[in-house]
């Protein structure tokens, strides 16, 4: 009992990491190897802007004060109409200035400490590869050993190459502290790379945003990036690989359910309020012929028409499983057929069992704290 409470306590501590904030007036904290090289370029351009803005503003104010003439005043006629050398000067100087800006932006410069676009887009050969799959409105990060995570975990001090793709519409992978961004385009692979040297541990994280507009949940598509030292990272990866298998069958829904459900929360609630999809509240009654089982689908059928012996789904479990793997098959009114992506290949049977188990025991779960109301699962 005490062991469980302790484990729960440390899990609670780990569950509340804080974002890494700070930075200066313009830029968020630099956390990748090329962040400072990019900020340097930003500041170069800024100083150029300050100079030219001050030049124009000061001249403008000075001329307006000096040459102000009240109404009816005789016009002075000594202003030059044009001045070729002067005009050529301000044609040539901007031209000469934009060439190095372009070049620094493209190629960078080691002496000036500027990281160029070439460096930003050329991942080292030995990069650690992680796949990112974006869909409305969640991210799945897939590691070489098959582990899938909702937040991004990366090893510190190693180049990481992200392979990006999107399932439905355009999204964009953006980590401001790393200064990296790239669109995720359905039907195409994209990539980007970065290296973060400073580990954040499990207690702090960098923001990850979706930067390409993707609809209702666009602003909710933010996740966390944890940078772990290689040993922590390996331990985390090992744990992720086996955590679902290691749970006892009796405790499966109790331990794995809430953790897996975290991936559903951008669309599904537990408190009866509809999100992008229907709330889970009362779901087990609906699919079991209880309250709400006369709710209709887009094709006019009800839960009772679909579920039951001899019908399309013999058991409620069959129906739930199908809804997770083929969500567009039967869609509850008034929700949209394109609202939910498939979780085929992302959830195995054990994961689905855990979620179904959780649905059956929702009355023991507190949606506000996202915790079970009891310390141990009920033994039936």
């Amino acid at each position: 009992m005490t062991v469980i409470t302790l484990a729960l306590g440390s899990a609670l501590l780990a569950a509340d990491p804080t974002p890494i904030l700070g930075g200066d007036f313009w830029m968020p904290p630099p956390a990748s190897t090329f962040a400072e090289g990019l900020d340097q370029m930003f500041m170069f351009i800024n100083w150029l802007c300050y100079f030219f803005f001050a030049l124009i503003a000061v001249l403008m104010v000075f001329f307006v004060i000096k040459y102000h003439a009240p109404k009816g005043h005789t016009f002075r006629m000594d202003g030059p109409h044009h001045h070729m050398p002067l005009e050529l000067t301000w044609l040539v100087i901007p031209t000469l200035l934009v060439v190095p800006i372009f070049w620094l932006g493209f190629a960078g410069s080691r002496t000036l400490g500027v990281e160029g676009y070439v460096g930003l887009t050329t991942p080292p050969r030995n990069s650690y590869e992680i796949q990112a799959i974006a869909q409305k409105w969640s991210w799945s990060f897939k590691y070489p050993n098959g582990v899938i995570s909702d937040d991004l975990y990366i090893p510190a001090g190693e180049p990481v190459r992200m392979q990006l793709r999107a399932v439905d519409v355009l999204h964009s992978f953006y980590v401001p502290n790393f200064r990296v961004k790239r669109d995720c385009v359905p039907g195409r692979y994209g990539y980007l790379w970065f290296q973060a040297d400073e580990p954040t541990g499990h207690s702090r994280y960098h923001h990850l945003f979706c930067a390409e507009y993707c609809g209702n949940g666009h602003s909710q598509m933010n996740r966390r990036v944890f940078v772990l030292s290689r040993t922590d990272f390996d331990a985390w990866l090992k744990n992720e690989e086996t955590w679902l298998e290691k749970i006892d069958d009796a405790e499966l829904y109790w331990k794995a359910g809430p953790k897996l459900f975290a991936r559903c929360t951008s669309c599904h609630t537990l408190d009866g309020v509809s999100g992008v999809g229907p709330s889970w509240k009362g779901i087990w009654d609906r699919v079991n012929g209880g309250a709400g089982s006369d709710g209709t689908f887009l094709d006019g059928k009800t839960y009772r028409d679909l579920i039951g012996p001899g019908k399309e789904f013999a058991t409620p479990e069959d129906y739930i499983r199908d809804s997770i793997l083929n969500p567009a098959n039967h869609v509850v009114k008034p929700f949209s057929p394109s609202g939910m992506p498939t979780f085929k290949g992302q959830l195995d049977d054990r994961g689905i069992d855990a979620l179904i188990g959780m649905m059956k025991h929702l009355d023991e779960f507190d949606p506000k704290t996202a915790k079970w109301l009891k310390a141990t699962p009920e033994q039936k």
Partner: protein, 573 residues
Amino acid sequence: MTAINANNDSVLDHTASTDNYLTHTRGFLSWALTLDHKRIGVMYLIGVLTSFLGGGIFAILLRTELLTPGPTITANPTTYNIWFTLHGAIMVFLVIIPSIPAALGNFVLPIMLGAKDVAFPRLNLFSFWLWVIGACCAIVSLLVGQFDTGWTFYVPYSTTTELGGVVPVVVGVFILGFSSIFTGMNFVVTIHKLRPPGMTWFRMPLFLWALYATALMQVLATPVLAITVLLLIVERTVGIGIFDPSLGGDPVLFQHFFWFYSHPAVYIMIVPAMGIVSELFAVHSHRHIFGYRFIAYSSVAIALFSFLVWGHHMFLSGQSPLLNTLFSAISFSVAIPSAVKVFNWTATLYKGSISLTTPMFYALAFLILFTIGGLTGLHLATLNTDVHLHDTYFVVAHFHYVMMGSAIIGMIGGLHHWWPKMTGRMYSENLGRIACVIVFIGFNITFFTQFMLGSQGMPRRYYDYQPEYQIYHVISTMGSYVMAVGFMLTAYTLLQSLWSGERAPANPWGGRSLEWQCASPPPHDNFPVQPRVGDCYDFSCLRWSEEENGYIVDRSMDPELNANAPKRAEGAR
């Protein structure tokens, strides 16, 4: 040439002012079916300003929603998405693109040319009614289900969104595109064929150069938009896979098509404002515009470059790194003619006789805001910094400085400049100047804050955001309220002049281009006889007349107007 009579085109010809274009004929149909470019311009102006009010209301709604993270005034993110989409679509397609060419340009262009009307008056009327139909399509789309795609209509989101208003609104965009093409064609032909004797290309007021460059872009770029939205409609309704990868299409292709139009389109918005500002600086400084040829050529240069830089909207879209590099290099070329213009305007103030009128206030505001908007374009054209800033509020701030701080401010400056000519009434200069200052301050509070918001990493089009960004959002929203007050005061100032403004003289500011030689408001036929063309930036022969309460041309002082003076080929010297 025999018709030209140096005494007859005088501003003191009071017989002309008793019958003006506003009172020439009466009744609804005399407006709805008018072929008079001035009436069409006024109708466009009313439509554009009404749409501006609508787009502005959505702006205030979405700024208010962003006061706090999470729900503020709506709990549904889709509602917020609809607001920002409507704000963008209305402001771009119904306000900024037609505002200067179709509203002010229609009114001023033929008069500046000393012509009776545009080359194709019926096409002009048709163009206006296409605009009305396009605006109705937008209203229909609101009634049948709205749309939340953003004004860019990016696929596959726009072909799959549940909201039913997408097809009506892109049909509207298609029709508005033709309205824009017809206006452009009309202006190109008018400037080529209806220039009066003596007005060579380099004697045209710079506003006409700007309108000409704009018209070229409208005619050449807008058909691509028409094709793009047509393909979008086909894909959404019939399911032919052109852009949607699940049907075998390519979403990046849509972005190429879209920006091939929409990048020139941002110059369709800004170049005419630059033309207005060239007029404002010269007329209100009463001094020959500095570097006429450089300003004229830079308008054309911007029009040409505008077709070659669309790919900088797509640096992160999956376009090849080689293309990104080329587009980055070419994008910098736009900076050069823009810089030339800014320096020439500043130099025009040097040794001028500057009247701090309301239009001059707007011109000065434009100079500051366009300088900021232009300079921050450097961060976005540079490949490495753009990776961080792309699709953040930094971009939002940048294009608002250019689209609103420059294009809209230039348009409102032009509206104040030609308002006495259009309505025959003077507005209160004090109120006008105060309103301009309030708008200027509110604008900077609203949008300068967004540069920091963006460089700190806040992505655009977010309904909800991280708490650390809230302080910037609160400041920005407060600024937008200040700006709204400024615009309401502007509206009050102008509307009040209609009821209680003093009668406007023919030439209240001391302008020299031909529109200041006809009465305010102009008669139906603009000029009783074709006016004689002088140097439109030679202010030496203008005198203030207390009796007239405006400026008059002292003919004895102008060698160009002395009948025997030989015409010089180059008027700009």
